[in-house]
């Protein structure tokens, strides 16, 4: 019976994502890349710079767990060209200087093949200088802002902020949300978010109420949220980082009637803990996060998540009862993509692997995240067709999500030339400028 269900799920997943996959020369590495060549190397060292302690340790520990699970699986299957993967972990805390110093150390270490992190856009901005100078291949699972076409050796395994905000604003429009404000910490992410919403909100019939900046020292976001409530906010975009939990708390305390909208950070159970039952209704844009979705999971996502839970368990909020696996599949995608790319070119040479990574096209059903990986020259592992919007809900069985952006991904406003969306049947659409107007055209 269980086997039958898995087969049905796999068939359904293939049907869902099949259109885009069959249109390209998709890679087929399987759920675990196996040894297909001999690199003559003993080991591949993968650095991780992340907050392993402190308020955002959940991120670093989840990233390490996911990387370790993939490393163990690949090693058990013979390694990458026979080379066994070894993690080198550095604790950057929530400290940009420490993170940059660790990045500098790993960038300068010739024995390191790939660096993951430092997460958080502002931290990566500092670290990227070292990576580019040292030509160090790196992959960033929690960097939403910044344009990765600027980085020759950097890849993003996180939803790009323009995709996130476009998806959220599309859903907001569908829900007749008219006035949106933002509470976000100062820094490049907040700046990029603010500029993009300012430029795009009117296309979705939204009045943007502005950005209330926060700092890491605030013990409450009541003052910031109250200002937006006074301006008539229907919805508030919250931080992807741990500080977003303070806004969830403020929404509960001030009995905010509107909608909170966040990125993938809103899967952190700290948000449910602080927001309580009032967190229900919150919209979350993220690459595939099927854990709280009561439907079949992508096979690759299921395999990775099951391995994470088996090895590291899951976390449960003492207050909310919300749960999350102690891993983050988008970090696993970094190592998975690296291994697939290295196998493809049968080389560990940085430039060759980088070029191969750019050209990857791995179907969603295979990747640990359950999202199609096709970075292209933008160096974004996930394109706009991989971004989902979920709505958090709670019932007697606990917290769960439903996917609400089927419409947004099909009929989002056409924000800029080159923007990729898809039709209801999954066919790709490209935003194109014709006679001064932005319109969608069928294309790849």
């Amino acid at each position: 019976m269980f086997k039958k269900k898995v087969i049905i799920a796999a068939v359904a997943a293939t049907a869902l994502f099949g259109t885009a996959v069959t249109a390209t020369a998709a890679d087929n590495p399987g759920l675990v890349p196996k040894k297909v060549w001999d690199s003559k190397a003993d080991k591949i060292k993968v650095g991780l710079v992340a907050p392993m302690t402190g308020v955002f340790a959940v991120l670093g520990i989840s990233q390490r767990n996911s990387l370790q699970v993939v490393a163990d699986q690949i090693n058990a299957a013979g390694g990458v060209g026979g080379a066994k993967i070894e993690l080198v972990v550095r604790d950057g805390g929530l400290d940009p200087v420490a993170s940059a110093n660790h990045a500098k150390e790993l960038a300068g270490d010739s024995s390191i093949n790939l660096v993951v992190g430092p997460s958080i856009s502002a931290y990566y901005q500092g670290a990227a200088t070292y990576y580019e100078a040292a030509k160090k291949l790196n992959c960033q699972p929690a960097v939403a802002a910044l344009d990765f076409t600027d980085y020759k050796y950097g890849f993003r395994s996180q939803d790009y902020y323009k995709d996130t905000l476009t998806a959220l604003m599309s859903v907001a429009q569908k829900k007749s949300i008219k006035k949106v404000g933002m509470i976000y910490e100062s820094g490049p992410t907040g700046t990029d978010f603010d500029a993009y919403i300012t430029a795009q909100a009117s296309k979705y019939g939204i009045t943007y109420l502005g950005w209330e900046k926060i700092t890491s020292t605030a013990t409450s976001h009541n003052a910031e949220l109250q200002k937006l409530i006074d301006k008539g906010a229907d919805a508030v975009i919250i931080s992807n980082n741990a500080y977003g939990a303070y806004t969830a708390k403020a929404a509960k305390e001030l009995k905010f009637k509107g909608t909170l909208m966040g990125g993938s950070g809103a899967q952190n159970i700290a948000f449910h803990e602080t927001g309580g039952d009032d967190f229900a209704g919150t919209l979350m844009a993220a690459p595939n996060y099927q854990w709280p979705l009561r439907t079949a999971w992508q096979p690759g996502y299921k395999a990775h998540t099951d391995a994470i839970v088996k090895a590291y368990g899951s976390a449960t909020g003492v207050k909310s009862g919300a749960t999350s696996p102690n891993g983050t599949a988008i970090a696993a995608d970094c190592l998975y993509s690296y291994a697939v790319a290295a196998n493809k070119v049968r080389s560990l040479d940085t430039t060759k692997v980088r070029d191969a990574m750019e050209k990857l096209d791995i179907p969603a059903k295979m990747t640990p995240s359950g999202v199609r990986i096709h970075p292209g020259p933008e160096h974004n592992l996930y394109q706009s067709d991989g971004i989902n919007v979920y709505e958090w809900r709670k019932d007697a069985k606990g917290w769960y999500t439903i996917e609400v952006n089927a419409i947004s991904r099909q009929a989002a406003a056409c924000p800029e030339a080159g923007w990729i969306a898809k039709t209801a049947t999954g066919s790709p659409l490209v935003c194109t400028k014709i006679s001064g107007k932005l319109v969608y055209k069928a294309g790849k």
Partner: protein
């Protein structure tokens, strides 16, 4: 500006005031500003999370264990700080000793709680309405605790033998020793009392604010700033300083934006240090 902003400021100010009061309790007999004091706050948050949140222990049982644990922490902290101070003879030894103690406790919390932000249920999940603004019972308890700690500390110092001993040591430790006042036990008592007080506010405030295992130094800095503004060593100053920075932060953040809150706090601190170098209620003290 809504009344809610002022109430939020009053609550945050009460937290900072209690932290400053606990630092004052230690400062009076020792002349040491204990930079490890905020770790007591984290102890309260961590034990609250563990006992109330995870183990679902009854409140009274949790409070009893918390007080014992905080007293033990205060005793250990006294040894960690006073022993190096006494052995080194340097008048600056307390700075590194208290910072080292802070780092040790912080590391211990980080080791135990690697993936946790402390949060658990309010003791009483209820709000009261004040002219349309909401004040949760949990916040009210913290405000009342601030008033209670201030009054009890004041009466203790004035009316009890131990309190008078603390005042005597604060005035002149050498003469106090000659007169037979037990300096060392009084100092131990100060560390224990100060740690119990700050652990209790950590326990009470954590359901309202979000506390991370590594946040101890942040609370120390806020308490230290409050103590400096009010006047180091003055309980009255601790309360005024704490309330001032709490309300100022909340009002300025609402008025000018979030990034201005911290700026305004330290700007006011700079102005006060120029106009009143000893704070509002502080007395000039010769360094030892």
């Amino acid at each position: 500006m809504s009344l809610q902003i002022w109430i939020d400021g009053l609550f945050a100010g009460s937290v900072f005031a209690i932290i400053a009061l606990s630092m004052t309790i230690v400062y009076q007999p020792t002349r040491i500003m204990n930079f490890a004091q905020g770790e007591g706050f984290i102890l309260g948050a961590a034990l609250g999370y563990q006992m109330v949140g995870v183990w679902k222990w009854p409140l009274i049982q949790s409070l009893a264990v918390l007080i014992i644990a905080a007293a033990l922490m205060g005793f250990i902290m006294e040894r960690m700080v006073m022993l190096p101070v006494q052995l080194s003879g340097s008048k600056f030894a307390w700075i590194i000793a208290t910072l080292a103690a802070a780092m040790i406790f912080q590391s211990a919390f980080n080791i135990k709680y690697v993936n946790v932000t402390f949060s658990y249920f309010d003791i009483i999940e209820k709000d009261i309405s004040i002219f349309g603004a909401k004040l949760s019972i949990q916040k009210l308890l913290v405000i009342l605790m601030m008033i209670a700690v201030f009054i009890i500390n004041d009466q203790f110092l004035k009316r009890t033998l131990w309190g008078r001993s603390i005042r005597a040591i604060a005035h002149n430790p050498d003469t106090s020793t000659i007169l037979g006042i037990p300096t060392k036990p009084v100092i131990k008592l100060a560390f224990i009392t100060g740690t119990v007080v700050i652990a209790l506010v950590g326990f009470l405030a954590t359901p309202v604010i979000i506390v991370a295992p590594a946040a101890g130094l942040f609370f120390t800095i806020q308490g230290f700033t409050a103590a400096i503004i009010g006047g180091v060593g003055s309980p009255k100053g601790a309360v005024v300083g704490g309330l001032m920075i709490g309300i100022l932060d909340s009002v300025v953040r609402s008025w000018l934006g979030g990034t201005w809150g911290l700026f305004s706090t330290f700007f006011v601190l700079a102005i006060i240090l120029i106009l009143k170098p000893n704070g509002f209620f502080g007395k000039r003290v010769e360094g030892r």
